[in-house]
Amino acid sequence: MPTVKEILDSMDYGPAPEAAGEVTAWLAERGPFGHFIDGSFTAPDDTFATDNPATGDTLAQISQGSAQDVELAVKAARKAAPKWAGLAGHERAKYLYAIARHIQKRARFLAVLEVLDNGKPIREARDIDVPLAIRHFYHHAGWAELLADEFPGHTPHGVCGQIIPWNFPLLMLAWKIAPALAAGNTVVLKPAEYTPLTALAFAEICAEVGLPKGVVNIVTGDGATGAALVESDVDKIAFTGSTDVGRTIRRATAGTQKALTLELGGKSPFIVFPDADLDAAVEGVVDAIWFNQGEVCCAGSRILVSEAVARDFTDRLTTRLGKLRVGDPLDKCTDLGAIVHPTQLARIRELVSAGEAAGATLIQPETQMPAKGCYFAPGLLIGAEPANPASTEEIFGPVATLTTFRTPAEAVQLANNTRYGLSASIWSENITLALDIAAQVKAGVVWINCTNQFDAAAGFGGMRESGFGREGGREGMAAYLRAPEVKSKPEAPASDFKAMPSPATPASSGIDRTPKLYIGGKQTRPDSGHSYTITAKGRELGLAPLGSRKDIRNAVEAAHKAGAWGKQTGHNRAQVLYYIAENLAARQAEFEAHLKDAGHDPKEAAATVARAFYYAAWADKFDGAVKSTQSAKVTLAMHEPWGVMGVACPDASPLLGFASMVLPAIAMGNRVVAVPAQSMPLLATELYQVFDTSDLPRGVVNIVTGPRNELAKTLAQHDDVAAMWYCGDADGRKMVACESAGNLKATWTLENRDWMNAQGRDFLRHATQIKTIWVPYGE
């Protein structure tokens, strides 16, 4: 050890290790570990090692969960569910409060254990992971208390299967378990195979607070265990992890009753405008990509900087990069610890090399690196153009790309040039500019002049292929609750398609009418050139165009061109909807006659007028919220339309069913490609003139008639459709959920219902996604 005199000369920091004795003693005493099922640990079986990535030493032996283990855990959770759900909210609140308290009392233990298993620096585990986990349980103790008041009529899903990643093991556990328990669910949680230890310690805390047996079950293992959990008899799957696995889960749960939320990858933009506080933005990068070794799904991994300050900013950032300390995660002076596992390290190396091979320059400081262990020096890939794989692939390591932009418009273009949409960080001292960009970026979370801000009261989750569903706050609670059940009303099988002439059912007299498709505000003939016969009560009512893939493609393109609709005020959209109601009311008798001819309830016409009024009323009232998060940080939760939605309408109520799905979607600012009732599309086609005379901008509603499931499949597969609503049979619902996995679009699949009363907030909630915007303030 150097002397005080020598240190006075160097003024080095010296070692400042956190003691790990309590934790290593616990590992020695408790390991090898079994699963935590029904309140106790099973005998260890089929074990594998979990290592300390900083040293390569084995920490403990962990059991590989089999399908049987999962089944046992789900059974235990199932058994515990009724009693747990039946407890008064206050009783569940007491348990959650106790868990929060106990994590707090074990804070140091859990922080050190997390560091050993994951490799993250002790400062982050101590100051970020553990306090946020505690905050999450406190916050959700509150939700348990208020559940009956705030979510009347809602019920828990039952048993939740939860699969969490290795980057924030305890924190992700808290994000999953706290809302699930608050809502009255029981859980089976599978921690990541690299980092199972804090979940096992948490299991002991559950026992310590006397949580009823079976309410929380922990099954350890690798992806196979996770797959078994997805396949098991659970009522909901909540997954945080890679987009590829998310896609697999999306397909696996399609056609089941399992609710699903996915929090997946990201390649989030970090946008620096010339009027930003550049030093602040530099520190922002430190907290964005050099936090948790860059193993953060919402890491600001694509730095976009204005050409006007690019050199200055890059110089400052490079200087700052040189100050980072990489090393022993237990040392309190460490900025970057170890990469979680050699496999991940290899992946980072591979992607960074690919980035360099594609023309980017890697800047890494001459940092002293530990002699052994799993480390990667932090870095920047300068000049990684959008075409560079390093700009599109999630590296999940401490390396960000840095490229420039010329104008705010180009910044938005570059920011949104990604399949992901998890978060965005915007740096500008101009609030007008910053909020404008916040509105335009495709991201579930936007941080203005800050980054990686989290709070239990704020929603967190992505758009696009970053997943769907939100965690945290009211919206996070909603994801663990089932809305009051709607009685389904089985749909009669749709009539057959006949594109051939049907002389057996002659048309009625009068002038022949030719319904067409409605695309971009124009009536268009179908690409197929075919029509199909529409009959009712054995009589031909007319011919409807037989829409096909290409018509869907054209309709989606037209819908995209109508983007201005989403930016209009709610008031303006309301005006259009009122006008639709007005024009429809003027022709109500005519629609009633059509409905009668078609063998449907004429009352649908009046109900459709009322529905247009209803959603006109809502257009400017589906408010967002300001969340109670941290002091001096305005946290906005804004409802944003999806953009372009596919809507496959019920066959049963040809006018009202169509209106009940399309009107809430457009009231919220979406543009819609709708497939009307396939057996009776002639009511929807009659609406074109109503739309045309009601100032509905072209492209906001597009209608393609034809075979519902075939057209819905094209819509579900379409990568430029952001969300899909489908009403129809079980096969169709499964198909839509499954096919949507391509771009992980949000889906809402419904059974047919009594459409007379089918309206309300539930429709609006499904027509929007929440964007959370953080704006710190203070002078």
């Binding site: 050890m1 150097p2 002397t3 005080v4 005199k5 240190i7 006075l8 160097s10 003024m11 080095d12 920091y13 010296g14 070692p15 400042a16 400062r123 100051d127 009027d275 930003a276 506080d277 550049l278 030093d279 602040a280 520190e283 922002g284 100050k323 309190k332 002076c333 900025d335 001292e429 002049n449 800050c450 001096a632 940080k633 710190p776 303030y777 203070g778 002078e779």
Partner: protein
């Protein structure tokens, strides 16, 4: 014995002409500055021998200060005695050091003579506040005369106060002229410009005032008189050291930084040193570029060091009063 670090081992800042372009568009985001300041001390930690060394280093950078209406020559002499021997002998020995003394002693102009006499042969410079400290609301000729008086009395460093009004009114030329005149009056004495940041209203103003002071030839920029309701804070300090870093990048001259008022504990002393090292580098942990204006801080540091040496918690009654 002379201090281990030669004072002012770098070329002195001659100042530049007033150039608004260096600062008039500066953006300082206050919440971001606060966030950086809040994590500076949590990102770095010094333990054991390192902690002891860093605390000793802080002592070497202290401007041991008395600025009270009831100061007397005898009181100043007592302070100077403490500046010569800030740590009890057994602590110095226990740390394996030969001698430690503070960076300077800081007093009112009328006390400079007494301080110079009390510090004779120690090599410890005497700093004097001047220019109508603490408010600075005196005619400029009297403020300049006060500087001359203090230097004639033997002050090697002059801690001047700026006219806050010039900052609040955005009259940078007036501020520049005032400080430049003071710098001239200082002659060979080094000028430390007290910005009274607690009265400037925003971090942007702090940055701008820092830059103007350096352009006008300040050798040090200093946060506070110790008499404002808010004195040295980490976010303010962060803003000032970034300004002096930017000035250095423009001119090549190294400027010193002195937080004053508000540093009371050994923990504070570590936090500010971490700020200097992280934002500027090791050079700014030497007394020629870093000073801490404090009166009570030394007592806490001495107690911590005693604990380091003896393993027992200390009583201040066993340590010499400043």
């Amino acid at each position: 014995m002379p201090p281990t670090d030669t004072p002012h081992s770098h070329p002195r800042n001659p100042g530049t002409s007033l150039d608004l372009a260096w600062f008039d568009k500066i953006a300082v985001n206050t919440p971001a500055a606060a966030a950086r300041a809040a994590t500076l001390a949590t990102r770095r930690s010094v333990k054991k021998e390192w902690q002891a060394a860093w605390l000793v280093n802080a002592i070497k950078c202290i401007d041991l200060t008395t600025l009270a209406g009831d100061d007397t020559e005898a009181r100043v002499a007592r302070l100077c005695a403490k500046a010569r021997r800030p740590l009890a002998d057994h602590i110095v020995e226990g740390l394996g050091l030969e001698a430690v003394q503070t960076g300077a002693v800081c007093v009112y102009p009328t006390m400079v003579g007494a301080a110079v006499r009390a510090l004779e042969g120690s090599g410890i410079p005497v700093a004097s506040v001047a220019t109508g400290f603490p408010a600075g609301l005196m005619p400029l000729n009297l403020r300049l005369a006060e500087i001359l008086y203090a230097t004639e009395q033997g002050a090697a460093e002059i801690d001047i106060v700026i006219s806050r009004a010039h900052v609040l009114q955005g009259d940078w030329a007036a501020l520049y002229d005032e400080i430049a005149a003071m710098r001239e009056a200082c002659g060979d004495a080094h000028l430390k410009a007290i910005l009274a940041t607690g009265e400037l209203g925003s971090l942007r103003n702090v940055y701008k005032a820092s830059m103007v002071a350096m352009q006008a030839g300040a050798d040090f920029i200093k946060t506070s008189t110790g008499k404002e309701s808010v004195n040295a804070t980490l976010p303010v300090s962060l803003t000032m050291v970034r300004a002096l870093r930017d000035y250095g990048a423009q001119t090549g001259f190294k400027i010193g930084f002195k937080p004053a008022g508000g540093l009371k504990t050994a923990k504070d002393a570590i936090a500010w040193q971490v700020l200097m090292k992280e934002e500027l580098g090791r050079d700014w942990l030497r007394p020629d570029l870093f000073r801490v204006g404090a009166s009570s801080l030394l007592g806490d540091i001495e107690r911590q060091l005693e604990h380091h040496v003896t393993g027992r918690y200390a009583s201040s009654s066993r340590h010499a009063l400043a």
